[in-house]
């Protein structure tokens, strides 16, 4: 039972916000030492256990180096960002013509998810896209329809803008074969003697990606219905008075 201490170290370390690399190493050494624990073991036994755990960790670290080769891709992404890749994506999003909040966010969802599935996870993000572009566009769509927005609805729309970015990213990126999470799975399984190809893993991210799109499409449709119910009654037909802001 003592070997479970390692799991405890992982949980505790992450909850306490210690450096995750330190947490992982501490968890590995704890597990190795706990496995060697007996009531009468001498200090030399623990020393040997620590050394052999470090060696086991080192062997696994060396065997799973391919998990970290994904960063090589940054050579190409960085080069294109230098030439305005993200700016071009922003221009593309800004051209979206959609009449309602839900539709603006839906179009962004689809673009974000598709780009992430092709490995372009940097074409989006909260500082790059959501704050400067997606949230203002969604707020703008609501204002055009209902006039000045009460704070409650304004912040609801902003929250949904951030949510769309996260959900589309999480459930798009695993379709790309060389994303960290896919290679972590490959590495973990390989340490357990099971060899899988990244492609075998990433195709099984597709059903969930479709489910995420379907579920969130319904959510955004409900958001539109909610905003309409909330704001249509109160909204003036033309421009809202400045004072309302």
């Amino acid at each position: 039972m003592l070997v479970l201490l390692g799991i405890g170290v992982v949980v505790l370390g992450f909850v306490l916000r210690a450096n995750p690399l330190l947490v992982v190493m501490a968890a590995a050494l704890t597990t190795g030492l706990a496995a060697a624990w007996t009531p009468e073991a001498e200090i030399a036994v623990y020393y040997a256990a620590a050394i052999s755990t470090l060696a086991a960790f080192g062997k696994a670290f060396n065997d799973s180096r391919y998990v970290s080769i994904v960063w090589f891709v940054l050579l190409a992404i960085g080069l294109l960002e230098r030439a305005g890749l993200q700016d071009r994506a922003r221009m593309l999003i800004a051209k979206v013509q959609a009449a309602t909040v839900g539709r603006v966010l839906w179009v962004y969802f689809v673009i974000r998810q598709a780009a992430a599935a092709l490995g372009l996870t940097s074409l989006g993000g909260h500082p790059q896209m959501v704050r400067p572009l997606v949230a203002p566009m969604a707020e703008g769509a609501a204002e055009a329809k209902f006039g000045a927005l009460p704070d409650r609805e304004r912040f609801l729309i902003r929250s949904h803008s951030a949510a769309v970015d996260n959900i589309a990213l999480f459930f798009g990126e695993d379709i790309f074969i060389a994303i960290a999470s896919i290679l972590l799975i490959k590495g973990f399984l390989e340490q357990n003697g099971i060899i899988v190809e990244p492609l075998q893993l990433s195709v099984w991210a597709i059903p969930t990606a479709i489910a995420a799109l379907a579920i969130h499409t319904i959510r955004l449709w409900l958001l539109d219905a909610h905003l309409k119910r909330r704001l249509a009654a109160a909204a003036p037909t033309s421009e809202a008075p400045e004072a309302a802001q």
Binding site: L4, G6, I7, V11, N19, P20, L21, M25, G32, A34, A35, T53, L54, A55, A56, F57, G58, K59, A60, F61, N62, R65, Y66, S68, I69, W71, F72, V73, I77, G78, L79, L80, E81, G84, L85, R88, L120, H126, P127, V130, L156, S159, A163, D165, N166, I177, S181, I185, F188, E190, N192, I194, E197, L199, Q200, W204, A205, T208, A211, I215
Partner: protein, 322 residues
Amino acid sequence: MITLAYIYILVGMFFAAVSLLSLLDASNPRRVFNFLFWGLLATSFLAGAYLGDLGNGVLALGLVIVATIGLGQGKPSTTSPEERRESAMKRGDLLFLPALIIPAVALGGTLIAKETDWGPALIDPAQATLISLILGTLIAVTVGMLWLRPPVIAPLQEARRLLDAVGWAAILPQMLASLGAVFLVAGVGQQVGALFSEYIPGLEDSRTLAVIAYCVGMALFTIIMGNAFAAFPVMTAAVGLPFVVVVLGGDPARVCAIGMLAGFCGTLMTPMAANFNVVPANLLELPDRKAALNGVIRAQIPTAIPLLIANILLMRFLAFPS
């Protein structure tokens, strides 16, 4: 034939270049630590095969120590926002094309290596996707260089800019995969398995029960830790592999792929995942940004829970092929 060994040399040289450029970057007061961190990683790629197990362990320990002391962020020279906008206007949507070369080559190379007679002479079929990914990157960089004509050092400096933004987190997945190996040696899976089957009767008989335990466990552990990557080796060693895969016959690739996504549902629901759920609340100036369940998380929960249920159903019905 190109094997992973050649790729490691190439990627090792990449990290070595990043390391040296970091050392030369006087704008980063912590540049020595960046130099050490990327340098150690480069050493792992270039010489890992000769260091021995303990040597590699000490190297990993070195990475942990440097990361804990703390890396800085370099400021490589890059284009200004105005130049980028101008370039984006001038080059138009063609800019996306080189980026799409990478997945296209990764997929094409994999198919060539596995499905053709002459492919294996070119690319080692056992690691076809990873090798093709690197080849795709090289082609994309070549196309980009010929087309955009930036300074020769530009791709390395831009990659360093992005790598410094990622920082030590760049090796977290590799470290977690290695932790999985230590768990395996110590028999953590069996121990947790014993514990689980004691408290959840029928876990080793019911596929439905085991799938629910694994997926909900992934989501809950992720909510607690704020990181699905960290939850993955723990829950998979505990429930995913011993029960869903070994005892009940689940396909490991499908079980793990969907299991990770069940963890992502947890990420959507936790303030512990600050990057995704707290940072945007601050950026968007939400009034409840300090609350445990801020507006962003509340907007995500009604999608996360049905999606977790969808993952449970998908795993239950797709992951047991026989």
